[in-house]
Amino acid sequence: MFTRREALFGAAIGAAAVAAMPAFSATFAPADIGALAREKVKLVAPPFVHPHDQVAKGGPKIVEFTMTIEEKPVVIDADGTTLNAMTYNGSVPGPLMVVHQDDYVELTLINPDTNTLAHNIDFHAATGALGGGELTLVNPGEQVTLRFKATRSGTFVYHCAPGGSMIPWHVVSGMSGAIMVLPRDGLKDDKGKPVKYDRIFYIGENDFYIPRDENGNFKSYETAGDGYDDMMKVMRGLIPTHVVFNGKVGSLTGDNAMKANVGETVLIVHSQANRDTRPHLIGGHGDYVWEEGKFANTPAKDLETWFIRGGSAGAALYTFLQPGVYAYVNHNLIEAVELGATAHFMVEGEWNDDLMTQVEAPKAIATN
């Protein structure tokens, strides 16, 4: 129903609008932008994050990223249910980008002609032009480069926002990710003391709305456009069929469980572009949690569960104290177990009896 020709037609109007605007990027760019150092970063698929400094070295620079949009069917559960996904760089969620405050983010967004739809990107970290969405609409066969200044520190969502109903449709088809803007001098605890992490994991949570046939089975479609009408009906009911981490039920369990060691400090960045969620680490805590994700605010301490507002990303810092298998869930447990929002950490190390011990193993109840 939404053919490539229509996509191109819709985009042509968008392109005309852009052309009518003053070339402000030239007008307002700081004179010394050309003097800034440039760094090219290769993005990696979540839950991993590209190498980065926690404390900035030197002054602000321009950090260059490239993302290629890929429309492709992806299997989202063990039953083989297929979503006609729209992805940034081939992954759901898109990769986490890391820069420092006052750096410039320079993103080249490529929409190959193998795709059928027009896409763009709205950075919650950016200022103006609908988060960059207005300046980045690209049709299949086009690419665009956007630069914005990362003026505020924190974790921020980015997502596709090509207008109207296309916005939620693209987002619940997988087009969201996050960027982390670190303070130049790194993260700090509630007393302003620097804190560091040994490992970082990025978890993007997605709510999917897969249509069912008359027997209740999930339907699949040849193209995303073929399924648009049916999916819209499910979306309007607001009850997701799947709530998952990293694009698929079980994407972060089993062989893909996240790994850490006792004594290591882990930063977990959690984004949800569309819907509220409440991460919880079963058997652990959030030592320092930036629920809203913004590092200029004092982190909350010792949280059991933290709230991530739909359309935001938060960060939780935790030092593992005990070995074992930890479940990291959306603590709406129906969503965690029945709809898929469960991840695992495998933590190796020495057990601390002082923190916990089984005083007496299960046995028959004593009768006198």
Binding site: A78, D79, G80, N215, G216, N217, T253, G254, D255, A257, I282, Q322, P323, G324, V325, A327, V329, L333, A336, V337, E338, G340, T342, H344, M346, V347, E348, G349, E350, W351, D353, Q358, E360, A361, P362, K363, A364
Partner: protein
């Protein structure tokens, strides 16, 4: 249990007056059952690790391995109970519909069935055929599965100083299972036949057994069980790996605190008991 057995036995003798083909008796006059294909396993023995959880002192142990002899032949269904077989029980009003919405061929194993469903089917099928059909015990299943029996991932003996080592070992073992990526049940026979002639063992349908979950404390000297507690609200499920499911569950899921690997599908096959003559006569006399 002995009481219900006698009742079933009396039905069996009534059926025994029919010359041959006990499994083809008509029931409620609406359908003749196709003759159930079974395999009769000759007496033999296996050494296998017991299901359940075993402690010594306060610490979990690797499950004890035990040699078990079967002195009598065991007659067991070659295939799992099929969608069509089970539908007859539903039609007769003796079974509830399976919790299954996917499109599955009628000759594929029935799935989306709980222990309670499987037991209801066994009761109905016994009445319908005049034979005594029941779920296999875990050890019978293991014996029948032969080289396809894998057992559970109970993990190594616990490290008294670090219980997490065992949890991690078990988690890794389950994660490394080379499971079929396609959980959709297939037509019977798809997963082939084992050395004993049973079909579709350890494919993508796990099977209920009549064995209850047990937690046992081993004697300090390592000989035998000091005490044990059965939880018959949970039964042993066998297949690609051994797992334990609550009786009313028809679709195994993992998540939240449960970090184990769930079965793809839950189904079952039955064992036919041939009551001895003494029991048959007692049953006939209604004793």
């Amino acid at each position: 249990m002995p009481l219900s057995f006698l009742k079933v036995a009396s039905v069996a003798i009534a059926a025994a007056t029919v010359p041959i083909g006990l499994s083809a008796v008509s029931w409620s006059g609406h359908r003749l059952h196709p003759v159930t294909i079974t395999v009769t396993l000759p007496p033999g023995s296996i050494t296998y690790s017991l299901p359940g959880e075993f402690l010594r002192g306060e610490h979990p142990q690797a499950n004890p391995r035990l040699k078990r002899r079967f002195n009598k032949p065991i007659e067991i269904m070659t295939y799992q109970v099929s969608v069509a077989d089970y539908a007859d029980c539903v039609k007769a009003g003796a079974c509830q519909s399976p919790q299954e919405t996917r499109e599955i061929p009628p000759n594929a194993p029935v799935t989306g069935v709980s222990y309670l469903d499987a037991s209801a089917y066994a009761r109905w099928y016994s009445q319908a055929t005049g034979d005594y059909w029941r779920l296999p015990t875990d050890e019978e299943w293991a014996f029948a599965a032969a080289e396809r029996f894998r057992g559970g991932f109970e993990g190594p003996q616990a490290d008294a100083n670090n219980p997490a080592k065992r949890w991690l070992a078990r988690y890794k073992a389950e994660a490394q299972l080379d499971r079929s990526p396609d959980p959709l049940p297939r037509s019977r026979g798809t997963f082939g036949v084992n050395s004993r002639g049973l079909a579709d063992l350890s494919g993508n349908v796990w099977e209920w057994t009549s064995t209850c979950f047990v937690r046992a404390t081993l004697a300090a000297d390592g000989t035998g069980v000091a005490n044990s507690l059965d939880n018959c609200g949970v039964h042993v499920v066998e297949g690609f790996h051994r797992t334990y499911m609550s009786n009313f569950v028809s679709d195994g899921k993992s998540g939240g605190c449960a970090v184990g690997t769930p079965p793809d599908n839950l189904g079952f096959r039955l064992v036919r008991d041939r009551p001895g003559w003494r029991k048959l006569i007692l049953g006939y006399l209604g004793i």
